[in-house]
């Protein structure tokens, strides 16, 4: 600190010292290679990237119509709530037993709190001057782990929501007429347990409606669901022979809308 003995000078009549050492950005002439002025040279190149991005973005906008559901109805008890996709991982976190019920604090405040505080304080948690990701394996490792868990949680929340949507009794289709009422398939449907959950007229009660199932599912898929069960539906509910099962599935595939 040899400056101690120097006379202190101020800028104008302020208390700001003249020649106070500041952290100026490194002069880019010290970097190897070609630098260019921000405007217009560099910005033009960045705009090129932005144009590619914009084309992709507008393609998405023009092909996918933004969804708008029915007007909010607070008395609707069957609606399955789902947050926007970027909140799904927190939503999924709260389904774990150790982060729900009595321990909900862990899910709402504990883990997200720790994660977000850590994220905010990253520059002070990882203080080494080293910048390359492989030279600071702890920081890199933790971040990768967090990334993987976010992806996995989002993924499982999404699949779970899809499954719930499928096994919930959805909206009644327009045409409620059961096709092929005199066929053997219909008889098998009514003789077995199917009718209890999927309804007398395939309208669904505890289980989803099967009207229009032929638009969505193949006979093989239906047989698989009958054998293995799905969601709340237990396996092996069908008591007949394999041939009868096939007849039932073929009859269900005939249930098409429009």
């Amino acid at each position: 600190m040899e400056k101690k003995h120097e006379q202190v000078h101020y800028v104008g009549d302020s208390r700001v010292r003249v020649n106070r050492e500041k952290m100026y950005p490194k002069d880019y002439s010290e970097f190897p290679g070609k630098t260019e002025a921000f405007l217009p040279d560099f910005l033009l190149k960045e705009w090129m990237v932005a144009v590619v991005f914009l084309v992709a973005f507008m393609t998405l906008v023009m092909t996918e119509k933004p969804p708008l559901g029915e007007i909010a109805d607070p008395t609707n008890t069957s609606f399955l709530p789902v947050p926007d996709w970027y909140f799904l991982f927190i939503y999924e976190l709260l389904k774990f037993n150790w982060a729900a019920g009595k321990f909900i604090v862990i899910g709402t405040l504990g883990l997200p709190g720790i994660a977000f505080t850590a994220l905010l304080l990253v520059p002070w948690l990882d203080r080494s001057p080293e910048r390359r990701p492989f030279k600071r394996p702890i920081a890199t490792g933790i971040m990768l782990l967090v990334l993987v868990s976010i992806v996995v949680l989002t993924w499982s929340a999404e699949t779970e929501h899809k499954e719930q949507l499928e096994s919930a009794p959805g909206p009644t289709p327009e045409n409620t007429k059961v096709i092929g009422q005199n066929e053997q398939g219909h008889k098998l449907y009514q003789q077995n347990a199917c009718v209890k959950c999927h309804g007398e007229q395939l309208e669904g009660s505890n289980g989803p409606s099967l009207l229009g199932i032929g638009n969505r599912r193949s006979a093989d898929y239906i047989i698989k669901v009958i054998d293995e069960g799905k969601g709340t539906m237990p396996a092996g509910m069908f008591q007949g022979s394999p041939q009868e099962k096939k007849i039932l599935a073929d009859w269900l595939v005939k249930q098409k809308q429009k």
């Binding site: 002025a37 507008m58 080293e130």
Partner: protein, 223 residues
């Protein structure tokens, strides 16, 4: 003629140094996608800002038709999407832009993290960036309710219920978000105000600070 006007203004307001300061600073080769294709990862931040600009512009146009009350909100969104010329495009840009901005922000954060760019002397800019992230999530959460369809309503209800389980502060957070005891008319008005006035103001302030700091400190050097 244009030059004469510029000179006239410049003589009085001395505007040249302001824009030359922005224009003239050198951008190093290692972040320039024209020199290294892989440098496109350094464009994520700029692209995030680009999407934010798209969000602000499309949002301004949506606000010309959107009505923030529980009777008309859904109908006004339905109208601007299905009856209005280009309405579906503008709402589409705002709807998909919300997701895309989160994605780009996420990618930008990861780039900064994995290149260690938050280190000395740029610690504060990282913190400001994280605050921007939270504000953007807040914008996503509040904007989700505004179409006032079932999805919006029940997602917000669940979100508020989750917030209410926070110890001690929970009930206060919930009543602050709801503006009452239920998700209802007050909540929609409140989320609209947050989404359109409070959070964008915070966002613009933070973005300004973010950019000033980048300008002060420069882009981090090559790895």
């Amino acid at each position: 003629m244009l030059k004469a006007i510029y000179d006239w203004v410049d003589e009085r307001l001395d505007i040249t140094p302001i824009w030359r300061d922005v224009a003239d600073h050198e951008v190093p080769e290692h972040v320039n996608p024209a020199h290294h294709f892989s440098a496109f990862i350094y464009c994520f931040g700029g692209l995030t800002f680009f999407v934010v600009v798209i969000q602000i512009l499309s949002g301004m146009f949506l606000a010309m038709y959107y009505v923030p009350d529980i009777v008309n909100a859904h109908a006004s969104v339905n109208y601007l999407q299905n009856k209005l010329a280009m309405g579906a495009i503008v709402r589409g840009m705002h709807h998909w832009g919300a997701s895309v901005s989160i994605v780009m922000l996420f990618l930008h954060t990861l780039r900064v993290f994995f290149t260690g760019s938050y280190k000395h002397p740029r610690e504060f800019n990282w913190v400001i960036g994280m605050l921007i992230f939270f504000v953007m999530l807040g914008l996503g959460f509040t904007g989700y309710l505004l179409p006032w369809d079932n999805k919006a309503y029940f997602a917000t209800k669940v979100g508020v219920e989750i917030a209410a389980t926070v110890p001690f502060l929970g009930p206060y957070i919930a009543s602050f978000l709801q503006g009452g005891d239920i998700v209802g008319a007050q909540t929609l008005a409140r989320f609209f105000a947050l989404h359109v006035f409070f959070l964008p103001a915070a966002l613009l302030g933070l973005l300004g600070a973010h950019f000033i700091l980048i300008r002060r400190q420069g882009i981090s050097g090559p790895l």
